[in-house]
Amino acid sequence: MDTTRHKFSRREILKSTTIPFLVLAQSEQGKTWQIPSAEDDPAKIPGAPVGTLGTRSAFENLRKTASDISARTPLQDLHGMITPSDLHFERDHAGVPEINPEKHELLIHGMVERPLVFKLADLKRFPSVSRIAFLECSGNYRGKESGEISPQEICGLTSQSEWTGVKLSTLFREAGVRNTATWFLAEGGDAAVMTRSIPVRKGWEDAIVAYAQNGEAIRPEQGYPFRLFLPGYEGNTNIKWLRRIELSDEPFHTREETSKYTEVVGEGKIRQFSFVMDARSIITFPAYPYHVEKGWIEIKGIAWSGRGKIVRVDISTNGGKSWEKSELQDPVLDKAHTRFRFLWQWDGTETVILSRAVDETGYVQPTLKILKEARGGYMGYHYNPVTGWLLKPAGEVLFQPT
């Protein structure tokens, strides 16, 4: 398909034409603009033919930033509430397995009346459900002394998709989960054979075995052919490449829920099974590495809570001295990234802008200082502080911890 397109590439044709001279004009603000010439007008050349797969513009360069173990969503480059599937953050513990759905199975056993195995085709026969919700890694916070750090690097381990699958409660009923079962083990088919213990209550409430993401089969990086999706719960519990669910009357205390994904909370204690993601927000514009000009600026970003809907996002343009309500973009969904906007006229003097999320349970996103105090001075998983941006008179935007 690319070859077909190449034959008709506008850019190739344009490269062969030379622009004879530049026509310049001045705007009201005294800026110089180039008046387009007829030779440079794409409307004068027939476009590329239809294709079998859409592509991104060659002028756009959206990328996750990848380390050995994770890849972060470019929050500062995205719009709206859905993360494009190929930009969804990724955290793997032993690589992305290549799974043939014909050979893959989901086994449900343990404290059930009828141990069962399902193929992907079986799961698709059950009544389906779709839900737009965020997915966030609980280790999603970074800072940088110099302030030269983008939203992607600060908290790009959060993304949002429309997930489609079968309710886990439907499968629980099919297998006849016993009343005495209080926990279940979810296990993946990757080389880490990833395991987490989940309260059975969550399975009955809103857990989904998801086989689709944003309208198509879930991607390998997100758990193809299916994954566990637990709305509002920390990313690691949403087991990818799901292959086994074992019902039990106690948690299994796997490596990931003891030596990892636990946090020191002071007085020598370590908090375990911290499933729910607390409310959070981040201004994605203005943000590093972008530069801004004085005048009208639409401050925008995303807010979310694992405990319910976002009811308010407060904005401060004076380092937290005063706060004003931003506008929330409909639809505001339960346990979902919610867009906020705040129109502001910047006079060009140095200041710090902040966003603060409030969810429907009354939780107010804390500053870094408050959060650190509440955790006995320790940092670790589940760090969701208010994040600031320092606007310098020259238009530079730098990360500012709170």
Binding site: A94, E246, H253, T254, V265, G308, T361, Y363
Partner: protein, 190 residues
């Protein structure tokens, strides 16, 4: 004609009612969803004991799931040097990947100061290690590696043999440090 159709629907509804009553679950779960779909569809296939055994490898803190076998510190040290030391360090304190042995001069979270259950050491090695050959170790090898790492963390004696029967009884130094999540919906910052 119209009356006949209504009668037909009536019979149909009655049949659905019977079907729903018959297929309702014997017990009502506390969190049972209040939806109207059938309680069983008959999709999927029964999983036999043999089928379950292929994947059911987990080990719980009470020892449930441990296979038959024993392991020694001496044998564990040999296997460790051969298959583990390149990632975790010659003595388990050096890395470059996860440090496994407690070092009072380091803040690293190790088996000796951060793992609440000895069974988790067995479970994790068995399912995921060594990183380049996951799931390749025999039960005896996993028991031996577990013994060696517990010994290096000063939790057991060099002569202690680890078995299916004693692994769950070993008291880990970090056991008393773990507390459940007490955060709740609402304004409290925790």
């Amino acid at each position: 004609m119209i009356r006949k159709s209504f009668a037909g629907i009536g019979v149909l509804l009655f049949t659905f009612y019977i079907a729903a009553t018959v297929s309702a679950p014997a017990t009502t779960h506390t969190y049972f969803p209040a939806d109207t779909i059938p309680s069983r569809f008959g999709f999927g296939a029964p999983a036999s004991e043999a089928r379950i055994a292929v994947w059911d490898i987990d080990v719980r803190p009470d020892g449930k799931g441990l296979p038959e076998g024993t392991g020694s510190v001496i044998r564990g040290k040999e296997i460790y040097q051969l298959k583990c030391a390149s990632c975790h360090g010659v003595t388990g304190k050096e890395g470059p990947f996860d440090k496994l042995v407690f070092d009072p001069d380091s803040k690293a979270k190790t088996i000796g100061n951060y793992w609440p259950y000895a069974t988790t050491v067995f479970d994790y090695i068995q399912r995921a290690m060594p990183f380049n050959q996951p799931g390749s170790l025999t039960p005896a090898e996993v028991y031996s590696l577990t013994a060696y790492l517990l010994y290096e963390n000063k939790i057991i004696e060099e002569t202690t043999v680890i078995t299916k029967n004693n692994l769950a009884t070993i008291q880990m130094p970090a056991r008393g440090l773990f507390i459940p999540d007490t955060r709740t919906d609402g304004p409290e910052i925790k």
